[in-house]
């Protein structure tokens, strides 16, 4: 291909010629071995998430819609962006009533409604592919139903997490879900709290570019 490519690669190969290049073995046990029970994992996840201003709400699986409604009301949110064709979107639509916040669907390419998404939508609800206890981290793999910007642009982001999908570490989640073997999606995101910065004199401020608030409903 390009000459820069062949020059760079040739120079690297030349640099390596005649040198001892045995790299030490990588022992991953230090980041993998955690013997936490399910309850310990959940406690740890909650503690970590709470420490970075995330609300973690444990709720029986049958009650999450009511719980969400309560939170929306509490925060006086006028609307909620949700994937209407996914199971949780349908469940929400079924029990929605006249006075509830408006349900907004992300059903057209972003370019067709940038101002609507940026200026109008007040909150969003997405699922996730599990979470990591050690760091208090949600694993989001955006899909055509739940596009990337759903978890980024709205000021408040609600996430549904099944308690059974809690991994101890990132290494465990990667291995268990076989990320490398099955190939990565065009975008995957690990989210550990609402958007934040400490760029002004190391003073923490939440809600710089992404959501100001993150609420995790842990379904038990």
């Amino acid at each position: 291909m390009s000459s820069a490519r062949s020059t760079i690669l040739a120079r690297l190969r030349q640099g390596r010629a005649g040198q001892d290049w045995s790299a030490p073995d990588s022992d991953f046990s230090v980041v993998a071995e955690r013997r936490w029970t399910a309850a310990e994992k959940l406690d740890r996840f909650e503690a970590r998430m709470t420490s970075v201003n995330t609300e973690v709400v444990r709720v029986p699986e049958s009650d999450w819609v009511e719980c969400l409604k309560g939170r929306l009301q509490e925060k006086s949110l006028a609307n909620l962006l949700v994937a209407s064709e996914l199971a949780h979107g349908r469940a929400l639509a079924r029990s929605w009533e006249g006075g509830d916040p408006q349900l907004v669907a992300y059903n057209r390419p972003f370019e067709q409604w940038p101002a609507g998404l940026f200026n109008h939508v007040e909150a969003s609800l997405t699922g996730c592919r599990g979470a990591i206890a050690e760091t208090g981290t949600l694993i989001l793999w955006p899909t055509p139903q739940e596009p990337r910007l759903m978890s980024l642009v709205p000021p408040v982001h609600f996430v549904l997490l099944h308690a059974s999908e809690l991994y101890a570490t990132l290494s465990e989640a990667m291995a268990d879900q076989d990320w490398a073997g099955r190939g990565m999606p065009s975008n995957a995101v690990l989210v550990s709290g609402p958007s934040k910065t400490a760029d002004i004199e190391q003073t923490l401020a939440y809600g710089v570019h992404g959501p100001r608030e993150l609420v995790v409903l842990v379904l038990q």
Binding site: L12, W21, F28, P109, P147, W179, S186, T197, I200, G210
Partner: protein, 479 residues
């Protein structure tokens, strides 16, 4: 937007360091920031077997470097297969040219940027501005530094040299924001201004923290969400990275992340870890339709030629070495006049700019060793500093060296003095003669010895040598 080129500036290390030392505001800002960062790092590693984790981090980076050409080829093949277009650049200028052409092909006039140190190294913003393309930084710290027409003073916290009042004044002057000591208010104001810009930009440019060869994945680490905005909202995303940022496996990312965020800011993880492996797919509703990866050499393959200096390329850009450096903490990031300040800058910049321009950097260290002790991938920074000091006075024309500007600090008088000392010290009779002469002619010893006597008095030889005193003592003992 950086002021002046590196090359014109970096030679002025000593006057700038002097000025910074005389500025109590700068010293207070850095002192409090570095103390905070050191404490947070220590707390974040509590309960960890840190030494074993550092071994793991070092082994991952060494393995990646050992297989570097193959991993770059694998990365390219996987990215290409997934729709990411890969470009190669030998120099920063070449990389700037590639990015300009990509912008032009899309008719882009407005570019929004996520944080990228390699783009600072290339002086990409100035390059694009000169071509009529506006490049706006979106990381809050970088945005403030750009408003002030300055350069970052820290690789992780670019605006760490400013306090809240200074930032409030800056935002008031440049953007009309009301003056306020409330950080939340200032942050919200920047959010409003930048949200508009994300939507207007035709191209988003970001850096890369780790490029995973095995899966063709670009890993970006951040807290603010500006990186995700930059790589998601504009229709075209250009990622730019040094060739050394590649790692072999996806599983290698987990331990490096554990080390990076804890070492950098004392966080267990950053708010966002963004894993990009392709452009928007046919059924997706957002994300860039084009993703490009620009691989920049910029002097790295030259470092790669030397088995000792190669360790410089392990760096994962956490900034822990500067946070713990007694020199950096006192003189601040701008004194160095280089893209990368502090200990890592002192061992990296001489390769990127040559020892002529960076002659004062390897010696701007007390060799206390703190940088080497905290480095999450065990780069032996003090050893490399000593190596570069040797390189800067080396006069051996027969020994090939990869370091540009080798021997630049060599002076005939110093070389002569050491040659003379070698002659005297290699033979007992000559050595005694030297001692005798120095003690007898001590009145002629110079009072001024360059930098040594700027803050100290010159050493004066004793009236008698140690050998003479010992002989005298043993004679007295016998009598």
């Amino acid at each position: 937007m950086t002021v002046g080129g590196h090359q014109s500036d970096v030679r002025q290390f000593h006057p700038r360091a002097r000025a910074a030392l005389d500025n109590p505001q700068i010293r207070a800002n850095f002192r409090s920031a570095m103390d905070g960062l050191m404490g947070k790092r220590q707390a974040a590693f509590e309960g960890w077997d840190l030494e074993t984790l550092r071994d793991l981090g070092a082994s991952i980076r060494l393995r990646a470097l050992a297989k570097l050409p193959e991993l770059l080829e694998t990365l390219e093949a996987n990215c290409t297969r997934q729709g990411i277009q890969v470009h190669w650049a030998e120099t920063g200028d070449e990389a700037c040219g590639i990015i300009r052409d990509l912008c032009r092909a899309r008719g882009a006039r407005r570019v929004i940027k996520g944080k990228s140190m390699v783009s600072e190294e290339m002086e990409l913003n100035q390059f694009l501005e000169a071509e009529g393309i506006e490049a706006l930084e979106s990381d809050l710290g970088e945005y403030l530094v750009q408003l002030a027409q300055e350069t970052p003073s820290h690789i992780i916290m670019p605006a760490i040299h400013k306090n809240t009042d200074e930032i409030s004044e800056l935002m008031h002057e440049k953007t009309g924001t009301d003056r306020s000591g409330d950080v939340a208010y200032l942050t919200a104001s920047a959010r409003r201004q930048l949200r508009e810009k994300f939507q207007q930009a035709e191209v988003g440019i970001s850096g890369v923290n780790f490029a995973v060869a095995e899966t063709g994945t670009l890993c970006l680490v951040e807290n603010e969400g500006n990186g995700r905005m930059t790589t998601t909202v504009p229709p075209c995303h250009i990622a730019v990275t040094g060739i050394e940022k590649v790692v072999e496996h996806l599983e290698d990312v987990a331990p490096l992340l554990s080390l990076l965020t804890r070492s950098a800011t004392g966080q267990h993880i950053t708010t966002y870890v963004n894993l990009i492996s392709g452009p928007r797919q046919a059924d997706e509703l957002d994300g860039p339709e084009e993703v490009h990866l620009v691989l920049v050499d910029g002097g790295r393959s030259a470092i790669y030629q030397d088995p000792e200096l190669l360790d410089t390329l392990r760096c994962i850009r956490c900034g822990a070495c500067m946070n713990h450096c007694p020199v950096y903490t006192r003189v601040g990031g701008h004194s160095y006049g280089t893209t990368y300040p502090g200990p890592i800058g002192k061992i990296l910049m001489p390769h990127l700019l040559g020892l002529e321009a960076t002659r004062d950097l390897p010696s701007a260290s007390s060799l206390c060793g703190a940088c080497g002790e905290v480095c999450p991938v065990r780069i032996p920074i003090p050893t490399l500093l000593q190596r570069l000091r040797k390189e800067s006075v080396d006069g051996d024309r027969l020994r090939p060296s990869v370091v540009k500007g080798r021997g630049v600090k060599r002076t005939w008088s110093e070389a002569l003095a050491w040659h003379g000392f070698r002659w005297f010290a290699a033979h007992p009779g000559r050595y005694r003669l030297l001692g005798w002469m120095m003690s007898r002619f001590r009145g002629l010893a110079p009072r001024r010895l360059g930098a040594w006597t700027r803050y100290r008095s010159a050493p004066k030889p004793a009236p008698q040598t140690l050998h003479e005193l010992m002989r005298q003592r043993s004679r007295e003992g016998r009598s």
